[in-house]
């Protein structure tokens, strides 16, 4: 990876934080714009979550005997009820290890 990529990513990230504070005197975003921006995590994170879970190393959809799907489901259930970030990651990882080291052996 080039350092220039990192610097550019740093600049663009900084600008997303600085631009509104610098340009606006008061909050001018209307409720509609705010509501839509509030969906950004829901719109982007699944694009990062799904492919490594559902695709195998060759990039083909794999839903049979896929420990990642099961582990992700456990994590979702725990996350839904506990609302704890740590518990979600922990249960997901531990159940994944159980599946690959014990169950599928």
């Amino acid at each position: 990876m080039h350092w220039s990529t990192i610097i550019y990513c740093g600049i663009i990230t900084y600008l997303t934080r600085f631009s509104m504070i610098f340009l606006l005197k008061e909050d001018i975003l209307n409720n509609k714009a705010k509501k839509i921006l509030s969906y950004v995590p829901s719109a982007i994170f699944p694009a990062i979550i799904f492919p490594p879970i559902f695709l195998d190393s060759a990039g083909i959809i794999d839903i049979e005997s896929n420990p990642k799907i099961l582990a992700a489901i456990f994590a979702i259930i725990i996350g839904y009820f506990s609302r704890s970030i740590i518990a979600t990651i922990f249960v997901g990882l531990v159940s994944y290890w159980f599946l690959i080291f014990v169950y599928y052996q």
Partner: protein, 232 residues
């Protein structure tokens, strides 16, 4: 205690509970950075230069998939576009500050700092030093993030690859969405994003699947917002 120091420490105290999940997140990031072989310096440099966990992990993932700089840059911009919202919301409280303050505070305006300082600003409009709250909260996040990145870098050089730690990328982002699992419209947006990305992974060129999926899902989010607003 003088008011500045008092407000600064209030910021530190308020944001501290939110640092608990940041620690494992930072460690995971550091481990993955080492796992993908970009080395300790670049892994830490990303934490200092970008200082945005989700976007740093996206960057690593796209880089390991061989994405171009342009795709990496636009994906990082998309992930961080939520800060536009934070800046807009905080602007009325920060508009009277000198430019130097705005420059410094912008660097540390991350999710957790925004959450606690926005709440504080609303309740303490008359405090002339209220920006010290964001300074305290923001630099607490910064310090914790750098320390946990370093922990991750150290761990990453000893953790065996068989543990499949790359799966923690998916888990971490999943965990960041737990508060939206109960909202039906968010679930629709999530499914659109995930399905488009999975199907598009092989079809969409230049590893642009994250951007394409995000834009598709945001379009759906826009539609859902417009429909709901019309009803009310």
């Amino acid at each position: 205690m003088n008011n500045r120091l008092k407000t600064l420490s209030r910021g530190i105290i308020d944001v501290s509970p939110l640092m608990i999940p940041v620690v494992p997140f930072g460690i995971i990031y550091g481990v993955i950075g080492m796992d993908l072989g970009i080395g300790p310096y670049m892994t830490l440099a990303l934490s200092i230069i970008i200082f945005g966990g989700a976007s740093q992990i996206v960057l690593l993932q796209l880089f390991s998939g061989g994405a171009s700089s342009l795709v990496i840059l636009s994906s990082v911009a998309a992930v961080n576009s939520r800060h536009l919202l934070y800046g807009a919301v905080l602007s009325e409280h920060l508009s009277n500050l000198k430019l130097t303050w705005k420059i410094i505070l912008s660097y540390v305006m991350v999710d957790q700092a925004f959450a606690v300082s926005n709440a504080y600003f609303k309740k303490n409009k008359k405090n002339n030093f209220k920006h010290y709250h964001l300074l305290g909260a923001g630099f607490t996040c910064w310090t914790i993030w750098q320390i946990s990145t370093i922990f991750g870098i150290v761990l990453g050089s000893i953790v065996p690859e068989e543990l499949g730690l790359s799966f923690t990328i998916s888990l971490t982002f999943l965990a960041l969405l737990i508060n939206d699992f109960r909202k039906f419209k968010n679930i629709i947006v999530m499914l659109v994003s995930g399905v488009v990305a999975t199907i598009g992974y092989n079809i969409i060129p230049f590893q642009a699947y994250i951007i394409v999926a995000a834009i598709s899902a945001l379009l759906v989010a826009t539609l859902l917002t417009l429909i709901t607003l019309k009803k009310n």
